[in-house]
Amino acid sequence: MFILQKQSMSLGSFETGSRRELLFSPLYLRNIVMDVPLLVTLLAVNGLGLVVLYSAVGSNATLLLRQGVRCLIALTAFLFVAQIPPRILRLWTPRIFFFGLVLLVLVILIGDVGQGAQRWLDLGIVSFQPSELLKLAVPMMIAWFMHERRLPPTFTELLVLILIIIIPALLIARQPDLGTAILVVAAGGLTILLSGVSVRVITVLGLLGLGSMLPLWQFMREYQRVRVLTFLNPESDPLGAGYNIIQSKIALGSGGLFGKGWLNGTQAHLEFLPERSTDFIFAVIGEEFGLLGLLLLLALYLVLVGRGLFIAAQARDTFTRLLAGAVSLTFFFYVFVNAGMVCGLLPIVGVPLPLVSAGGTSMVTLMVGFGMLVAIQGNRIILVR
């Protein structure tokens, strides 16, 4: 029933596209699967991120080093995942997904309380946020589910897909971590979009989603409501809830076209800007490097997303297509939500700027996602006609 055949499973072949783009000359490295445009752009963004972060943490070398280590870990994960054939990924997907769900339940039962929310599992050596895993596991599960079915999904299939999204999303929202829950819903939703659901159904779902906002409002914690309300009118509370938005807008606006120069951002350095090394680092870039700096960063992001979409377009089966597309679109979604939040277009939901914000877990998740892209590109399944 499958008219598919792996073009190559062994790592010894020279025939796949990516193999020809191998960067390294030593023979033992030739077997490594890599996508050079992705790798170069990722390194560029990571490098830029470290430069900005050095300024944002107040020229603190220790903090910078720590982030550098995180980058290395993420890069290692990226390289490792890139070597995993997509078929294996697909086979493991249900296990990963349900493992993630179990962890989410565990977090609710025994998780550490950090900043008023249970998000972390203390694994002895490292703490770990299971919700991060779900950011990838949900699109993977959808892609897995649709892999052996015809696109677009039928109505019944659609309901199953929605369940795949809603269950982890609700568990995450209960922690409460509204930001990650939204991201998980977005990742899943984008995957469904890519699976070819008709525009009419999307519209209906969208309206239903808006309608569900009302009960969601009841579910929200006070600080979350305040955030949404201040988003609508930040100036109403300049020293309280609206502080973040106003300060980040000042940081961006005072940066101008060329910025105040590296390490010269007064907003950031004088601690007016909250969370300047994490969620609001976009404002630090805007202040110190100006509009030009931000345009460069956005261009790099677009290259990554574009390359991801290109890989998705080239992918040969439903699982890899949907997964590659979802990873790329989700990545852009992160960028847009973070940047939109920092410049006052969207509410503050606590989404880090991908690959730049300090913090390990999200960086690893993102790099694993890119690793999957590379794997998909490097192990394309050729449709045998």
Partner: protein, 639 residues
Amino acid sequence: MNQAVPFKNHWKEQRLFLSRLIAAGIIILLSTGVLVSRLFQLQIVEHQQFAAMSQGNRLRIEPLAPTRGLIFDRNGVVLAENLPTWELVLIPEEVADLDVALDALEALGLVDPDDRNGLTELVRSHRGFERVKLRNLTEEEAARFAVRRHHFPGVDIREGLVRSYPYGEAVAHALGYVASISPADLRRIERSEYAASSNIGKTGVERSYEQLLHGVVGYRQQVVNAPGRVLFDPAANTGLAGAGASPTGLETKWPIPGDNLILAIDIRLQLAAAAAMEGVRGAVVAIDPTNGDVLTFFSAPSFDLNRFPTGLSRTDLRALTTDSDEPLFNRALAGTYPPGSVIKPFLALAALDYGVVDADHEIMCPGYFMLPGQSRRYRDWKPQGHGRMDLHQAIIESCDVYFYQLAVTLEIDSIAQFLRTFGFGAATGLDISGEARGIVPSREWKRSRFARPEEQIWFPGETVITGIGQGFTLVTPLQLAHANATLASRGKPFQPRLVIGTENGMTGEVILLEPRAQLTLDLDDADWQRIHDAMLGVTEDIGGSAREVMAGTAYRVAGKTGTAQVYSLAQDEEYDEENLDERLRDHGLFLAYAPAEAPSISLAVVVENRGGGSRTAAPIARQILDVYFTEAEYVARQL
């Protein structure tokens, strides 16, 4: 579904997927466009505005408190100074939860539970960025807080200066005190002027000369971060005086210290008064008749001014305000007493001036007085009577019957008119606020004072007792000293004053204030002389009511004793001091001026509920005058 797995149309699916990818790509480009245009708006279009705002963020204007002016007595003795202290301050906007913060401070023993409500109200009445002083801390308390400082965002200790009064108890009612700015004070001051000050003058000279003493607030610009921590302060290390920009472009405008004040008070007399008044209630006021200088201004019992600037707890304040002796009450300024016999010289002068009696006019004193056609007897203090009395002798022996007759002859409205020319019934114009006006009764006064027609009628008997300073008449010790000074200067009164000069806090330039003469009383010299002689007789002649007390002085004193009834005796009741409730016993009064030849001090002493003036008030006057003439010996006049 059971007709095997449906055939997957790969080509169709790929097209569908690609179309979705293209749609996604377009949406991505559009979103990026939105983002970029937003950034363009913020960073290019509104750049100027945000750049200005970011400047405002970095700079904070820190107000600098001016040093409060010092207060000296007339000889340069410091009466009020500023000592270094620690203040517990709170910046409302930096405290997340005021109650939690106050709870924690209370747990540390730095805030009195009783003061909680007051402090909460105080903090609420300030704007978010204004520093509120909670209280002063001792060294030990400051240290206790300092080690836990990081637990208290928005609460800090600050070095400051606190008002200190070396003679806190002796000069309390003249000097007044400073204390925390209250919500009520905030309404009467220019808030920005007090941005750095935590205390304000509440009473006495401290209040009425607040503007001079306070000085002009300064400020400095500091580079701060959002939580308000100072990162760079150009003014902190440099002792540069004067306004101007520092090399870093941060401005500093130094505060201008308040003016120093020179009081008319002579601390030696003041201390003598405080010592003499130990254990009694009452007041002493001494005025220089030649210029209105208030040399002594003491109200007993007193209190220690030093308890207020550092923040009096509610409990302590309650103890002070509910004390039955009312130490906070300024008796010298606002205590109103029946003048008793000390009113007699003034009435005698009135009679002479109006020509209703002449000096040789004599009456027979049988020990009581009766109005024609009435049976009521108005008793003399001497039941057996004084016998034949002329004006001179009536003053010396303080014959009541003579003055009953005199008052009836003068008529109440004439009495009132004359007494007012001596300043009775009106504020003397002393340069601190809170003066009581007292009462000079008249028909007109009674009409406006009472509502019911039957109460508005003036009865002849009321005129009779006015003759000996009883009835409705009420005077303050300050009014007595002032009127007595007018007697001493023979009709040339000066507005009483506590402050006689100012000293510029920066230049040290001293400006002495001119004495302010009041309306001259144009009376016959012979009349003045008769009253003067009679008052001299009080202390010198045989039978004079203050002769024993003033015996053996190196100076000559003119005086008049007085005894004011608090309790009206029934017709045939005997005054029995022993069995009368203490608060109903007579007040003792004494007026004196000296030296008799050229008076330079006019003294009024009032002692509450201790009996007649010759026994109680006159000895106190003697002690003060002795100090004035021996130890101080006119030096009180030099500057």
